[in-house]
Symmetry: C2
Subunit: 360 residues, 2 copies
């Protein structure tokens, strides 16, 4: 008998829910032979959609939830008003041990809040982090992965040095597993590369991270290094990560606007742009980080993969595959193990040198 990973999917969350979510889940059921997919949402609606799609009936089932959170609702208010919303029911299933991982393309704030209220933090983890993937240099192919991970991007707005160390551990574990990167380069985002640069939480995290052997800590990086892809895992507070991520999102628009500007200037440029228009469309899609992978919520005993609100069926299938990979590779166990190793090291250290609070 083979081990089945039970992946709970919020079928009602996302701009194209439930149709594209159900279709993505149906496709995932055919692609993943060791996963069971539990679609949470209006049973009548899902029961009509599913039979129309090619899927493996033994590995997809529906769990009823009478209502759902809209994309633009305020998270706390929506969850209070709708205790049986699909995302709440889905997070509950996982919390009760009836599912192993969660996938949703719905309201980000509401899904993070639903997990935060029901799920348990891993031993040694103090604060959860939402990570996001973004495109860097445009290398491609099997070995040249053109993406980096940044965390936190909004789960923990204010952070301590210890929180940042935890984020480094979690981001590294995720990159190792999902990007098949054996020794991801982990960096702290700061306003200078020197160890003493930045607010005190950055300086403290730096001091703790340079002592680790479990992580490939390359030091501080600056804003300039983000699009360059100097680091595989960029560690920062939820506040700064959110600002940075939304700026990266703006880069694709900027590229298009730059092109439009050039358009007005010269005939040669205009001709060049016509030839390039399909390239520009493709560049735009490359810089649209949101279509890739989804954003993992890390730090809990179960993984949650937040697919983008605009996700189509393919993006949903991808997010389910990532959740499956996280379960199969024991992501959460790896994070807990590394946190324990760091904790052990901190406790072994002579008291005299721990005055600067190096993440112990």
């Amino acid at each position: 008998m083979r081990l089945m990973h039970r992946i709970v999917v919020d079928a009602m969350g996302g701009d194209h829910a439930p149709d594209e979510i159900v279709q993505g889940a149906a496709e995932a059921s055919l692609a993943l032979t060791s996963a069971e997919i539990i679609l949470v949402g209006d049973a009548a609606v899902l029961g009509r959609l599913l039979p129309k799609l090619r899927h493996d009936g033994a590995r997809v089932r529906v769990h009823h939830a009478p209502t759902y959170v809209e994309m633009d609702e305020k998270p706390a208010e929506a969850l209070a008003a709708k205790p049986e919303a699909s995302i709440a029911v889905a997070a509950d299933l996982v919390a009760r041990g009836e599912g192993d991982a969660l996938v949703s393309a719905g309201n980000t704030g509401a899904s993070v809040l639903a997990c935060a209220r029901r799920w348990t933090l891993l031993e040694g983890v103090r604060r959860a982090a939402l990570a996001a993937v973004f495109p860097t240099e445009l290398r491609r192919g099997e070995k040249d992965d053109p993406f980096s991970l940044i965390l936190d991007v909004g789960a923990t707005v204010d952070v301590t040095a210890e929180d940042l160390v935890g984020f480094a551990v979690m981001g590294s574990a995720y990159a190792k597993l999902v990007s098949s990167n054996r020794r991801p380069r982990v960096a702290l985002l700061s306003n200078g590369t020197e160890a003493n640069k930045g607010p005190k939480e950055i300086v403290g995290a730096h001091a703790a991270l340079v002592e680790t052997t479990e992580l490939n800590f390359i030091g501080n990086i600056e804003g300039l290094d983000i699009p360059r892809g100097v680091a595989d895992v960029v560690v920062t507070s939820g506040f700064v990560g959110n600002v940075v991520l939304k700026m990266l999102e703006g880069v694709s628009d900027t590229v298009v606007r730059l092109a439009r500007y050039a358009h007005k200037e010269r005939l040669a440029w205009r001709l060049g742009l016509i030839a390039l228009s399909s390239a520009i469309d493709q560049l735009k899609s490359i810089t649209d980080w949101q279509q890739y992978g989804g954003a993992p919520l890390l730090g809990f005993t179960h993984p949650f993969i937040k697919a983008h609100g605009r996700s189509n069926a393919r993006a949903v299938t991808n997010a389910i595959k990532v959740a499956h990979k996280a379960l199969a590779g024991n992501l959460c166990g790896n994070i807990a193990r590394t946190m324990a190793e760091l904790d052990e090291r901190a406790q072994k250290k002579p008291r005299a040198t721990t005055g600067s609070d190096p993440g112990s």
Copy 2:
């Protein structure tokens, strides 16, 4: 008799110092008839350079400083080791009332530190801020200014709500004067547009700024809005501003890299790129914010315009012109006046409603 504005220029600071600095100053002496330029640096070197250049001898003079801070030196250590470095002597001249404004293309940290140690903060200003100009939408022409201002970008790493309110006042005053923008749109950078989003200092500054009538406060903006140019003045901590600014700097590289990627893909794209190559060069220069204006250090009783380290003569002339504009338009006086108005309003407010510390 006309009022002369005395602008002190660190002739030894910058990648192309002293040649390009002296040339920029020489050109400024011809362009600005109500400015006197004091070049600070090695008198022997400057005395050889100046006579070779067209300049107005009545409006440029040399003040000797025997040494200077290198571009890559550590600011505090360099200033301690070289008390007579050109930037220290230049900041001293202004502090002693022998100059009205300072311009330098040298080591940013050392110049900000030299001013901070010698200069006096304006009445009502608690922390100084370094502001920078960055390109946004690519509109051009007399009315469509394609630049926004962001501050602080590194002078004050950790900020309070009151510091942010001060930055808003200073940025608005600068944009009003230098960009001839009557009512600059001022925004706080946050992780959401709602008034309660962000760390506590952002929430506190928001609460204070919505009450102002002196400023055109448009609320919180997100990272996405920065390249779009939604705000004329973006207010943030020195830490976040530094990260953001360096990311913007990276955008030009990203554009070029995107283009290179497209290059490999298809013949039509390749041909398009050849036609576009001059456009791409121009786009690169447009997104290179550093060639424009320089970064003003705001909050002191005198203006300091920090030109980029790579400044050529034209950029130095521009920075001197901006310093002249700041003096002629009474930038520092305007900032002090608005700070006093805000302070007066805060004191008039009934005690009961000032519990949330609205920048009083």
